[in-house]
């Protein structure tokens, strides 16, 4: 790997495209494969309408991001997937979005059933029907296939799951998503426009803050704006409140899935308490309209903190009481320990991020590895577990609550002392022909926003990678050899986003 092939970049730093040398396709492939073999992670691989390929590699232990790019002359190149399985979904996406064929990819199935790419001016291809494709099949007299969804028995998002079973044992699970494809990335192209922030916030509704923050940071990076320390501290509060609410809800839902009612009921209510803290500040339980490019839409003044702090303390005490019941019930712990095993090597191979990765003992947390906002000065310790099963994923969530709580209490104490700031004005124009990558550790894991601007400083390509995009395949792997009746529990322990994947 030559020194110029991978360009180091900091989380949230903008870089003129001219500073990223255009590699040959072979060198581009080699650079990625070598970096991955040395332990880096393929955080993003995407193309744009001009057949340029961009890759973002994350060196989590070295705290460094790298970007690289190439220009394809024809719509095909030799696929990365056979040697680098992390790339499998990215390459399927390339084929679907831009009609680029990664040759040698094992199976280029549709990702989101969006309209196949056709050159400008050509007759548009017909829109495929979601879920209509070939599924992997296990043949045999005693093998049976179970199809679940996209319409489920509960009020959850749509996704189709195809199980190949032998009795109760699952040989293979195939997950087909794309039912929620709205075209978020496509809508953001040509931006930023007044709706951009809304579109970023709704990439995954339960991760509004993380996506909004990542979006704001790409804009701020490209505009060369530095956010005040106070605004960063408040953004940290927003992100950790989001984490608290979702982790509490998840622990309750996990408990509900094994039929343990006390924690399920209490946590269901407590999740509401945490969401209401967010709503108190910005008027929306999911944190919409709290952040804005350049700073905050809603500051957190002393009076507000005085109102929130006692409510938060109360919610925290009740949360601990409620979740303690869960760990105290042997029947629950046995269920958690026996299901959904993902090995560390599997997790590394597929490039898992966030809670499922940390539950396998892989130390990976954007807040520590690629610090952003307040996390450089106020570090958060990544929480690890070892076994990679449902219990580990629940345990990681539980211990992360303590870290978040500690961070929140520190931020409240500090923010109460400093005066609130006026709302920032509009951002200056974005740098032209530049690229900016922003990573934020959402409650599920890494949220990546990659913006590339054209000569006029508008987005020529905007790529969003939610943690779910990396992790869905982990769920399929975790279910191999397990019983089909444990699927809902495994699914809940990953709790991945359908809309964050489908965009």
């Amino acid at each position: 790997m030559s020194a110029q092939s991978l360009i180091p970049v900091k989380n949230g730093q903008a870089l003129p495209l001219a500073e990223i040398p255009e590699l040959s396709v072979a060198a581009f492939r080699e650079a990625i494969l070598e970096a991955v073999s040395l332990g880096q992670r393929l955080a993003c691989l995407c193309a744009d309408g001009q057949r340029r390929l961009f890759a973002v590699l994350a060196d989590d232990t070295g705290g460094q991001l790298h970007v690289t790019r190439t220009q394809l002359n024809e719509p095909r190149y030799q696929a990365l997937t056979p040697t680098c399985p992390q790339a499998h979904l990215f390459e399927r996406e390339l084929a679907e979005q831009y009609g680029i064929t990664p040759e040698g990819h094992p199976w280029l199935k549709p990702v989101r059933y969006q309209r196949p790419w056709t050159p400008v001016g050509a007759e548009p291809a017909p829109l495929p029907l979601p879920g209509v494709m070939d599924f992997y099949r296990v043949e045999g007299e005693e093998v049976h296939e179970v199809a679940v969804g996209p319409v489920h028995a509960g009020v959850i998002e749509p996704g189709h799951f195809r199980f190949q079973c032998h009795g109760e044992t699952v040989f293979h699970l195939e997950i087909a998503l794309g039912y929620q494809h709205r075209g978020v990335e496509q809508a953001l192209e040509g931006g930023p426009h007044p709706l951009s922030l809304k579109q970023a916030e709704t990439a995954a509704g339960d991760t509004s803050i993380a996506h909004a923050w990542a979006h704001c940071r790409t804009l701020e990076g490209l505009a060369g704006v530095t956010v005040s320390q106070r605004a960063d501290r408040v953004r940290g509060v927003a992100l950790e409140l989001e984490r608290m609410a979702n982790h509490v809800g998840d622990l309750g839902a996990l408990s509900g899935d094994v039929g343990f009612l006390p924690t399920a009921s209490f946590c269901g209510r407590l999740r509401g308490e945490w969401l209401n803290l967010t709503a108190e500040v910005c008027g929306n339980r999911l944190g919409r309209n709290w952040l804005r490019p350049g700073g905050l839409q809603q500051d957190l003044d002393g009076a507000m903190i005085a109102r929130l702090a006692p409510r938060m303390a109360q919610a925290w005490v009740e949360t601990q009481d409620s979740v303690d019941l869960l760990w105290g019930a042997a029947s629950v712990v046995i269920r958690f320990e026996g299901a959904g095993h993902l090995t560390p090597s599997q997790a590394r191979e597929i490039g898992a991020v966030g809670v499922p990765a940390r539950a396998c003992g892989i130390p990976m947390d954007v807040r520590q590895d690629h610090p952003f906002g307040p996390y450089g000065m106020h570090p958060v310790e990544p929480v690890l577990a070892e076994s990679g099963n449902v219990h580990s994923r629940a345990w990681v969530r539980w211990r992360e609550l303590f870290e978040s709580q500690r961070h929140l209490a520190g931020a409240f104490a500090e923010l109460a002392k400093s005066p609130s700031e006026p709302r920032p004005g509009p951002l200056p124009n974005l740098a032209s022909d530049s690229l900016c990558v922003a990573l934020v550790e959402g409650w599920r894991g890494e949220v990546l926003h990659l913006a590339i601007t054209d000569a006029g400083g508008r987005f020529s390509r905007y790529k969003i990678v939610d943690a779910s995009f990396h992790n869905w395949f982990g769920l399929a792997l975790a279910l191999r050899g397990e019983t089909i009746s444990d699927f809902p529990l495994c699914n809940k322990s990953f709790n991945l986003s359908y809309c964050g994947h489908d965009l």
């Binding site: 899935d257 009612l261 009921s265």
Partner: protein
């Protein structure tokens, strides 16, 4: 008790009325207990009555892949359970129909009810329902021996093959009250009760997760009136099997109405116990369920052995 025609008719009337009207109260009670223990107010105790009334006014939807077997499921199940309910004494009032050997008929009527439910599930051709049917059949194959060993033990103790004397003998002092074998039988039957009624820790009646269901998944395709029958049938099963559990524990009281009252109170108490069990334990992993059922078989088998020696 005076076996006058009037009192026999009165009992028959009360028994039938209880069987027809009472059952939907039991799931309501269980749900209420669970809600209270979880700190919620929960649905009204009479919720199942409202649900049945609503379903009775709704049209049923039948899949094109189904045949008459699909409808035979709920109808046949309720019919079989209704007949079975006439064989069971409620407390210390005599059963409306009682003859030597009725215990065999009783057990096979329960078997028939399950057989029809399973056929109806298979008739839909759905992967879920087939899976649920497979689970139901394999688990009930393990629950049945527990029931039969219990019957055998009681038959040995009382020298009768009729449900009424078998279940009521204890309260009359013929067999020691709360003797070792009786405790073992009731422990085994308690497990059967939870399994047969699709309660925790064997099955989760509240779950919406179709892949984890056992009993619920077999009735997913039913709607309207047939579904009302399914729900009523499930609650009827709670009462019929509940009578097996509480009868041996009830003391015989002098007055008929006191016996009725004791029975109803005991049934209510049983619902409370089920609610408490469901609130305090997580559901077993499905692979562990057979072990739990085997514990039930062993308990009642030991009771039988104890009575043999």
């Amino acid at each position: 008790m005076s076996h006058t025609l009037a009192s026999t008719l009165m009992n028959l009337l009360l028994h039938t009325l209880a069987v027809l009207v009472l059952p939907p109260l039991i799931p309501g009670l269980i749900a209420k207990v669970k809600a209270w223990l979880a700190g919620r107010s929960g649905p009204p105790v009479l919720q199942l009555y409202y649900d049945l009334a609503k379903l009775a006014r709704k049209q049923a939807v039948f899949s094109r892949t189904t045949s008459w077997v699909f409808l035979a499921g709920p109808v046949g199940t309720v019919a079989a359970l209704l007949v079975a309910s006439l064989l069971v004494p409620f407390g210390h009032t005599p059963a409306p129909v009682s003859f030597e050997g009725d215990v065999i008929l009783f057990a096979y009527l329960l078997g028939l009810a399950r057989f029809l439910t399973v056929l109806s599930a298979l008739d839909t051709g759905s992967a879920f329902e087939g899976m649920g049917a497979a689970r139901e059949v394999s688990f009930s194959a393990l629950a049945e021996p527990a029931l039969f060993f219990g019957f055998a033990a009681l038959a040995k103790a009382t020298g009768s093959l009729s449900l009424a004397p078998m279940l009521q003998a204890h309260g009359m002092g013929k067999v020691g009250h709360l003797s070792g074998p009786l405790i073992l039988i009731l422990a085994g039957w308690a497990i059967v009760y939870l399994a047969e009624n699709a309660r925790m820790p064997v099955d989760d009646p509240n779950t919406h997760l179709e892949l984890t269901m056992i009993h619920e998944v077999m009735v997913l395709d039913h709607s309207g009136r047939p579904f009302a029958l399914v729900l009523y049938g499930a609650s009827l099963k709670l009462v019929v099997l509940g009578a097996l559990l509480v009868d041996p524990l009830l003391p015989r009281l002098a007055q008929g109405w006191l016996n009725w009252l004791a029975f109803l109170a005991a049934l209510g108490l049983l619902a409370v116990v089920v609610g408490v069990v469901e609130s305090s334990t997580a559901r077993f992993r499905m692979t562990k369920v057979p072990q739990f059922l085997l514990a039930g078989v062993l308990a009642s088998a030991f009771a039988f052995l104890l009575l043999l020696v």
